[in-house]
Amino acid sequence: MKDLTAALRMTAWMTLLCGGLYTLAVTGASRWAFRDSAEGSLIERGGVVVGSALIAQKFTSQRYFWERPSAVDYNPQPSGGSNLGPTSAALKQAVDQRRVALEKADPGEGEPPQDLLFASASGLDPDISPAAALYQVDRVAQARGFGPARTARLRTLVEAAVEGPQWGLLGEPRVNVLKLNLALDAMDRP
């Protein structure tokens, strides 16, 4: 009986301490130290929030660089992958369709980089590989009516947008698509 009461009181106390006070302490400290990142790394353009640097957006226009395929159509409600397995006929079909679509949109570029063929784990992967960004340069330039000089500038823009491994070692080189497209719009503004 004594342990029963203690168990009840300990449950209440731990809920207050670990659930309540700890969460509030972390919230307070992270707001003070890392306000932007704890708030979702939002990006503004002209005073209006246009997205988060960490979350992929849906791009279908020829005038923009495209993200990786998303099993949740870039809608974070909820996030997730396709969960299709390595012998899945549905995955095979999806990949074949994506290959055909990419080869039509980007003629003469050859086999698409595989991160553009396969869906990400979260459905919200904000990055593509540098190869996947370069693959799309000619299409974007053509859709925006760029001549050779501006196309070359666009290529430089993409190369500048490549983030190397963190601290030179961790993770993979990558290009953030939303940031790249914002830079592209800025460059294309008359």
């Binding site: 009181r9 990142s37 396709s82 012998t87 919200l124």
Partner: protein
């Protein structure tokens, strides 16, 4: 694989090995109730916790009382999580006005978080209010981890004690572990993660207009605080549906490194602490080496399988279900870490891994989470296998088996058999039932042998209290919510209670000094024997099932078949 992949894995292990001794020593001091480096900072919190619950930390508990205090505390914890979920629409901090959670899902989640499983049958961002996540789930993240460490401490005291009844005090172990180890570590980790971009706020979801003019709803919430402890405490239940693949939960390669490190940090330190508590560091080092051997075997197989070509897609190292910023090697490293421990968080979708990669993930769980395992429970699960190994070695040479100076008797071995067989049975019977019941087959996300793998994986993780998934299986149904909750309970308490019983039995025995005939438990021979016993018991038990799932899928994949 590139050189940079190997370097990241090497860096991971270098940091982990460097942190193991100091953290293990701290944990041992905390569990002994000695003064330690954090005493001036958190000592008052420990005393306040005893007063708040009205307990006397000096009171000794025998194994039955220790178990009953633990079970009552866990029962109230699960009840609290259940109640918060079903009532969340009437409680504050629910900016998205999410309705109360359905009873069967709420029951599954309550049981799963209380047993340190943290399976996500639900999608958090569309199901759980901020209040439910912080007060319900985060609390269990802490105390279920502390419960595991408490049982490890009680077992160590039982092995060390000489003709005594007491195994220590559950409340003291629980409070000390929480306030001196878990809370400080989680606080530091949460801040580091928030600095990398893991969200931590209480705002309603942001609705933004995208560059192409669409509307996107960005989920927010107090994620960093939950992510930190779910990684450190072998919990693994994500703040978002995609778990640590979600960029708000794991935004950069550095956050990935920190979260991945947190998976093995305490499980590895627990082995060190156990060695200090039983005052036999050589034995603990032997256990650590056996775990590391099994770990290396698993990781090597996984890397080989994932980087081998898949003839169906004419690709090796497929990016399906993986994130660009982590790449393939970090995804596989995480998959190994999260399944050898009972963590269960993911940074890639396990359902889309190569067949044999997924098989190793299953095997890691089917051996019962003893390859480092969950915090505390990895050690006590391993000791179950150690006693079995010592017993079998004793039978082979015809001597009374002894472990750490205690003679092993029939009672100990009976409990060992219970602890090994019941979770085994839960996996097999559960998976078999799911294969013949329409309700079990209804949720499959893949056809062919991969569909069977989804079912086997679900029951393997449930009985191992892991919580990761072949997530193509839609398990948010009455059948899976209830069947998996039952497997959670068996996997947790059919090991935990026998371990406490063994601890109680050991504590009552007299110490027998080692003689020339004592079988040493602190050398390479013993480590090899231990590894063999684990492989024989677990691999043979599940080999037929694995043949039907990942192994046959592997060969059909090589033949180019799809389903």
């Amino acid at each position: 694989m590139h050189g940079s992949d190997w370097m990241q894995i090497a860096l991971y292990w270098a940091v982990l090995v460097a942190l193991t001794p100091p953290l293990g020593a701290h944990l041992a001091r905390v569990l002994r109730g000695e003064r330690h480096v954090l005493s001036p900072v958190s000592g008052w919190l420990e005393r306040l916790s005893y007063r708040a619950a009205g307990v006397d930390p000096a009171e000794q508990m025998d194994w039955k009382r220790y178990a009953s205090a633990l079970l009552w505390f866990n029962a109230f914890g699960a009840a609290a999580v259940f109640a918060i979920q079903v009532l969340q629409d009437r409680l504050p901090l629910n900016p998205q006005h999410l309705p109360g959670v359905a009873w069967d899902s709420a029951l599954n989640t309550a049981v799963s978080f209380m047993t340190n499983t943290n399976w996500q049958g639900y999608s958090p961002e569309t199901t759980m209010s901020y209040l439910t996540q912080m007060l319900g789930l985060v609390t269990q993240n802490f105390v279920s981890a502390a419960t595991g460490i408490a049982v490890m401490a009680a077992l160590a005291r039982g092995l060390k004690g000489r003709q005594v009844r007491g195994l220590g005090n559950f409340w003291a172990d629980l409070v000390r572990t929480t306030v001196h180890v878990l809370l400080p570590l989680a606080f530091v980790w949460a801040l580091l993660l928030a600095g990398q971009g893991v969200v931590q706020n209480f705002r309603a979801y942001d609705s933004v207009k995208t560059l192409e003019g669409g509307v996107q709803l960005l989920a927010q919430g107090p994620a960093a605080s939950q992510v930190a402890i779910k990684q450190l405490g072998s919990n693994g239940g994500g703040f978002f549906n995609a778990n640590s693949a979600h960029p708000f939960e794991n935004p950069t390669p550095l956050s990935d490194f920190l979260e991945d490190l947190a998976i093995l940090l305490l499980p590895s330190a627990c082995v060190w602490a156990f060695g200090l508590l039983i005052e036999d560091r050589r034995h603990a080092a032997t256990l650590w080496a056996a775990m590391f051997a099994l770990y290396g075997l698993g990781l090597g197989t996984m890397l080989w399988a994932e980087f081998s070509p898949n003839p169906v897609f004419h690709q090796a190292a497929m990016m399906e279900g993986k994130e660009t910023r982590f790449g393939v090697a970090n995804s596989v490293l995480w998959a190994e870490n999260t399944t050898v421990t009972s963590n269960g968080s993911v940074n890639c979708m396990h359902d889309s891994l190569a067949p044999l990669t997924g098989m190793v993930a299953m095997l890691n769980m089917l051996v019962g989470e003893v390859i480092f395992g969950g915090v505390g429970c990895g050690v006590y699960g391993m000791v179950v296998f150690v006693i079995l190994t010592v017993f079998m070695a004793g039978l082979m040479v015809g001597r009374t088996p002894e472990y750490l100076g205690k003679k092993i008797d029939g009672k100990d071995v009976t409990w060992v058999v219970v602890a090994i067989l019941l979770p085994n049975a839960a996996v097999k019977l559960g998976a078999a039932a799911a294969c013949v019941l329409p309700a079990g087959l209804a949720g499959l996300g893949n056809a062919g042998p991969h569909g069977f793998s989804e079912i086997l994986y679900a029951f393997a993780e449930a009985a191992a209290n892991n919580g990761s998934a072949f997530a193509g299986l839609n398990a948010n149904t009455h059948f899976y919510n209830l069947a998996l909750a039952a497997a959670n309970l068996i996997g947790r308490f059919a090991v935990l209670v026998p371990v406490l019983a063994i601890a109680g039995n050991m504590a009552s025995k007299r110490y027998a000094a080692p003689s020339a005939g004592t079988f040493a438990t602190d050398n390479a021979l013993f480590a090899a024997l231990l590894v063999s016993v684990i492989l024989i018991v677990s691999v043979l038990a599940f080999f037929p099932a694995l043949c039907l799932g990942p192994i046959v899928e592997h060969f059909l994949m090589l033949a180019g078949r799809t389903f």
